[in-house]
């Protein structure tokens, strides 16, 4: 570049930059679906506490609500990564099931043997590895073989659930061997709120930082925005997408372990139907199903909104089976909202 013009341009650019940045920050905040969902969550909680001060506005209910959505929230973070790339993962509920059974079975063997292999020190990594394997399976089929994410992960949904049923021999696992108590204390424990809630908070902050400040995060968005362009400009598309699927399954595995720690038992139906709630949380939080848009905080508050409404319905004496109608309705509403916003943009 010619040296005589560079400094002047640079200074213009910098002042431009700072002016615009402030504008987009506030603009972004107000255009952000996550913000409005947060407002909705607080509003519902406030109204419910006024209406049912004795049952709702209690510490115990707060503890229950946050614990209940923490598992879905953790899974929604992984789902966010996959959906940002323009994919989808329907297998998370089944991955949760098979991971729960794997961890349960290993620790169960510690009932009759005090081998180190049957402690949670080994069972938990084995569960996480199971999750990674499931994600690798999805990722390879989507990126290397070129199958559609929908069909691939629908297949994994079925395979992983069957594996859970077969491994468990259709029995409930509730005796967790000699390291069971320590496992429950750590993974099912609490400090003001449940440990799974702390984990969700830490993971949300961590994932938000990854999305916004790392090359990997930037590449997730680029792939969702224009996969072909990303490929042409040298983004390692295959690797990044593969990692997104692995991360998603890993989150499901983490959620399974936390859920196991709290429930104290593993059944092969663990996580059945969760995929819908996880995807709903993600899109309600503002992640675009078409890819290229979304965030960690959205996944968190999306999960919170669903649970707050579910909890509210139960307290208000509404049949809890209405929950499915609300979750389904919310998915459709969120996608409709996205379509309206998309039109405004064009």
């Amino acid at each position: 570049m010619p040296p005589d013009t560079a400094p002047a341009n640079a200074s213009v650019a910098i002042s431009d930059v700072t002016g615009i940045k402030e504008l987009t920050l506030t603009q972004r905040l107000f255009a952000s679906q996550a913000l409005w969902v947060t407002v909705a969550v607080l509003l519902i909680m406030g109204l419910m506490s006024l209406r049912y001060p004795d049952q709702y506005g209690t510490e115990e209910n707060f503890y229950n609500i946050t614990r209940n959505f923490s598992f879905i929230g953790i899974m929604a973070l992984g789902m966010t990564a996959v959906i940002i790339t323009g994919g989808i993962d329907l297998s998370v509920g089944s991955v949760m099931g098979v991971v729960g059974i794997v961890v349960g079975l290993i620790m169960h063997a510690g009932k009759t043997s005090d081998s180190f292999l049957y402690s949670w020190y080994c069972a938990v990594p084995a569960g996480l590895a199971t999750g990674v394997l499931c994600g690798l399976f999805n990722g390879v089929l989507v990126t290397r073989v070129g199958l559609s994410p929908f069909v691939t992960t629908l297949g994994t949904l079925s395979i992983a659930r069957s594996a859970a049923v077969l491994l468990s021999q259709n029995k409930m696992i509730y005796e967790f061997g000699y390291s069971g108590q320590q496992f429950f204390d750590i993974f099912g424990g609490q400090f003001i709120v449940a440990n799974s809630v702390w984990l969700l908070i830490i993971m949300t902050i961590g994932f938000a930082l990854v999305l916004n400040t790392t090359v990997w995060g930037r590449h997730l968005y680029a792939i969702g925005g224009n996969e072909h362009a990303a490929q042409l400009t040298g983004v390692p598309v295959v690797r990044v997408k593969m990692q997104a699927y692995i991360f998603c399954s890993l989150c499901a595995a983490v959620a399974a372990i936390m859920l196991l720690g709290w429930q104290g038992s593993a059944i092969n139906a663990l996580g059945t139907g969760y995929e819908l709630r996880v995807i709903a949380s993600t899109v309600i939080g503002g992640t675009n199903l078409l890819g290229g848009e979304g965030g960690a905080f959205g996944a968190f508050v999306g999960a919170a909104l669903i649970e707050v409404i579910r909890n509210g319905l139960i307290l208000a004496g509404v049949d809890s089976n209405y929950q499915g109608i609300f979750v389904g309705g919310f998915i459709i509403l969120a996608v409709l909202l996205e379509r309206v916003r998309g039109r405004k943009r064009e």
Binding site: A13, T213, G225, G234
Partner: protein, 246 residues
Amino acid sequence: MSVLQLRNISKSFGAIRALTDVNLTLEPGEVLGLMGDNGAGKSTLVKIMAGNFPPTTGDIMLEDGPVVFHQPVEARRKGIEIVYQDLALCNNLSAAANVFLGREIKRRFGPFNILDFRAMYEQAGQLFGELKSETRPHDLVRRMSGGQRQAVAISRTRLSNPKVVLLDEPTAAISVRQVAEVLDLIRRLRDQGICVVLISHRMPDVFSVCDRVFVLRRGRKVAEKPIADSSPEEVTGLITGAIHAA
């Protein structure tokens, strides 16, 4: 010694034969105008040079011998930059993010490698300024005009020190003033000894910046000659087929 040479390049897409037996030589520091009707094979030819896909038959020679590109990144490493006709931009990212896509500037933050936003915004701002474009580094590409998008795509080629810059219709969607800036940029690239291939439909562009003109018709070369020895009338005739070869 030529910078890049294509020897007997043919390219078929299934039953479609896009290029037949094309030979092309790029000399150091020259600007080559690549012209031809829609579907003549211009984009296919530059995409082969940029490593998008290999030719069906034929060879690509660089200064240090024959090369086979499997990916655009490999051509870029050899000093070949390209601005695609469709620009290859991500609408959901900012202008600066698009410029640095795949070549992000990073900095250490404790144990982590994070994006150096400030460096990228500043450098992108400078590059846009150099093009006299009002493109602002923070703006989303989705909200940009044709000229601003073009500036983003062209700025990408300025990140490295390329030997060859391929521009696929860089002036198709932009204002008269911006066309002048792009032509200026091409001249500056040439002055730095960089080879430029300019695909354009605009006769005045080609005749004002190019040293030589190369005409394709239906995938075949029909002319390759110094611009001084040609005229807009002749080139128009070559493109349409009114003149068979020159």
